[in-house]
């Protein structure tokens, strides 16, 4: 690999002023939400979130979305937080803040498409983890949602290089991370790890963000990393990728992510991947609607 290109990219990623900063509301909110659930007070969370108008609106919207299975309309922030559950607030707060972080149309990746991909990975990862009774099912949603955190790092710190990589991926119909490596000697998994460590995200999130394209190399949380890696691949093959189709033929059972997942979770053997694929297609509609609605609100 071209050492100098890679070193230049790394230098840009490692200087903090180039990187997106953690949204103001998020730090205190996350710190508070990491207390045990029974020590949390709904009113405190309401107070924090209501400081941020768009987060408030998005909470309301999420609380009313079919994803959270609401039957009754929720019309107050307090109601929304109760409906979503305090345990879910971390997920919602992170999701909403990240949604706002991707600059519109810089680097050629359409934010709507990017969030559709992220949300699809989140939903399918959780669905699969529950269905296969995997021990980390409750962590799967957020892990899926944030797995491509590095794309945000790249778009912000290396906008031109990233745009070139995306253009190359599109033209050659190859996976995005391969094109990134080709263009700038580094891919979004590596840069994602740098940003995730900077933000001090939870260890399992750092693992997923950093290793989802090379799950066999993950040192911790291997099952979760492999699951998200596999779901990411599936989403890309079913039209929920980065806005283009990769020209390739994939046998999931021959994938590194599958072998790793199988080592960690033998229950995966015998899973019905055809059905899982059809179930993923079911999410397409929900994902489109939710992302469109969240974007309209910003």
């Amino acid at each position: 690999m071209n050492g100098t290109v890679r070193e230049q990219a790394l230098r840009k990623l490692e200087s903090i002023e180039n990187m997106p900063s953690i949204p103001a509301i998020l730090e205190p909110l996350l710190r508070y939400l990491s207390l045990p659930v029974d020590e949390l007070q709904v009113q405190k969370v309401v107070d924090m979130i209501s400081n941020d108008e768009s987060l408030t609106v998005q909470c309301l919207h999420l609380a009313n979305s079919p994803l959270y299975c609401r039957w009754q309309a929720v019309d107050s922030l307090r109601g929304a937080i109760m409906a979503l559950g305090l345990g879910k607030m971390k997920e919602v707060a992170l999701a909403c803040s990240f949604m706002k972080m991707l600059p519109k149309q810089v680097g050629g990746i359409d934010p709507v498409i990017f969030w559709e991909h992220s949300l699809a990975c989140a939903m399918v990862s959780r669905h699969l983890a529950r269905k296969l009774s995997l021990p980390f099912a409750e962590k799967a949603y957020l892990a899926g949602l944030l797995h491509d955190f590095g794309v945000i790092a790249n778009v912000t710190a290396l906008p031109h290089e990233f745009a070139a990589a995306l253009a190359l991926a599109r033209a050659k119909e190859i996976p995005l991370h391969e094109a990134e490596t080709e263009v700038m000697g580094i891919n979004h998994a590596e840069s994602g790890r740098i940003l995730a460590e900077l933000w001090r995200l939870a260890p399992e999130l750092i693992a997923v963000i950093g290793d989802h394209h090379s799950p066999a190399q993950a040192k911790t949380n291997r099952g979760l990393v492999a699951l998200v890696g596999l779901v990411d691949l599936l989403c890309r093959m079913r039209g929920l990728g980065y806005g283009y189709a990769e020209n390739r033929i994939v046998n999931l059972l021959e994938e590194e992510a599958y072998a790793t997942l199988l080592e960690e979770c033998p229950l995966v053997r015998g899973a019905d991947w055809t059905r899982i694929t059809f179930e993923l297609d079911n999410y397409m509609y929900e994902v489109h609607n939710l992302v469109a609605a969240l974007y309209r609100m910003q």
Partner: protein, 298 residues
């Protein structure tokens, strides 16, 4: 195209099936692998009544006997012609056809490039009135730059004699040709008084045969097929018949061959000898490699 005796007939609530009607259901099941469920039995009766009028038979009991005597095979064929539903059209399920064109054909050409004979065989199993088979022939002709010095052929089979005859005639109306892209319509169809007639160039690639997919003896003569399209056929079968048909298809497929089933159909639970393949927005199956089969048993 044959329509079944038809969804137009309402299902009479208090329809009580005659014992002989149940016997006729068994004849159909044993011959074609198709089981007429109770709520469809009244349609079977309509079909039988039509035939009985033509034959001058008054009682179902007599018709049942007529079907089951040694010479009844001919009548079974005729009855089946009315029962087998053949809804189909040109260029059905585009993502699968794109996958064939962009991924599977190049893969096969690469895999077989060292073979002595440069031949490529595609089989449309359950071809109905032939639209799928001619579509495949068009795709082969359009891939001429890739298949320059290759000898290609399409075998097309169906159990319904009427459909096979229609297919051989190769003349189609508006509704079944509506998906043909205009340039291809220009190039490969000739308009005459009766409709759109398939050009001789395409016809030359395709051969039609009446064939029962449950007939192992005849099926064993179809060997070394590189691509099988068996779409929207298995849905009519119960598990036992599906398993039998799929085993036959497995034997007919070349080692690097690919099997396409209908876009919502699955081989899960039907056969372990096939592995799922993902291509952009399309799935297909390949023969399970022995190393994987072993790994699965571990």
């Amino acid at each position: 195209m044959s329509t079944s005796a038809s969804a137009r007939e309402p299902n009479p609530k208090n329809f009580v099936p005659d014992l002989h009607l149940l016997g006729i259901r068994d004849v159909i099941y044993k011959t074609a692998g198709i089981f007429q469920r109770d709520h469809k039995l009244h349609l079977l009766k309509v079909r039988c009544t039509l035939r009985m009028k033509e034959l001058g038979i008054g009682l179902l009991r007599d018709y049942f006997q007529y079907l089951t005597k040694p010479s009844g095979q001919v009548e079974t064929t005729i009855l089946l012609n009315g029962i087998l539903v053949g809804e189909t059209r040109f260029f059905r399920s585009m993502p699968q056809l794109d996958a064939l064109r962009k991924i599977v054909l190049p893969k096969l050409v690469a895999a077989k490039s060292t073979a002595a004979a440069r031949t490529l065989k595609i089989w449309s199993a359950g071809c109905s009135t032939g639209e799928e088979a001619y579509t495949l022939a068009i795709i082969l002709l359009e891939a001429s730059s890739l298949l320059d010095d290759w000898t290609c052929s399409v075998l097309a089979t169906d159990l319904n004699q009427n459909s096979v005859e229609h297919a051989k005639r190769g003349i189609y109306g508006e509704s079944s040709t509506r998906n043909v892209p205009p340039p291809l319509r220009q190039k490969y169809f000739v308009k005459d008084a009766t409709g759109l007639s398939v050009s001789p160039e395409i016809r030359a690639l395709v051969s039609f045969q009446r064939l029962n997919l449950l007939d192992g003896r005849h099926l064993s003569m179809i060997a070394k097929t590189d691509v099988i399209f068996c779409r929207n056929v298995l849905i009519h079968f119960d598990m036992a018949s599906k398993t039998r048909v799929i085993e036959h298809l497995h034997n007919s497929l070349s080692p690097a061959g690919v099997l396409f089933v209908g876009h919502a159909e699955s081989l899960f639970g039907v056969s372990n000898n096939f592995s799922l393949l993902h291509m952009p927005a399309a799935i297909a199956y390949e023969k399970t490699k022995t190393s994987l089969a072993k790994r699965r048993l571990l």
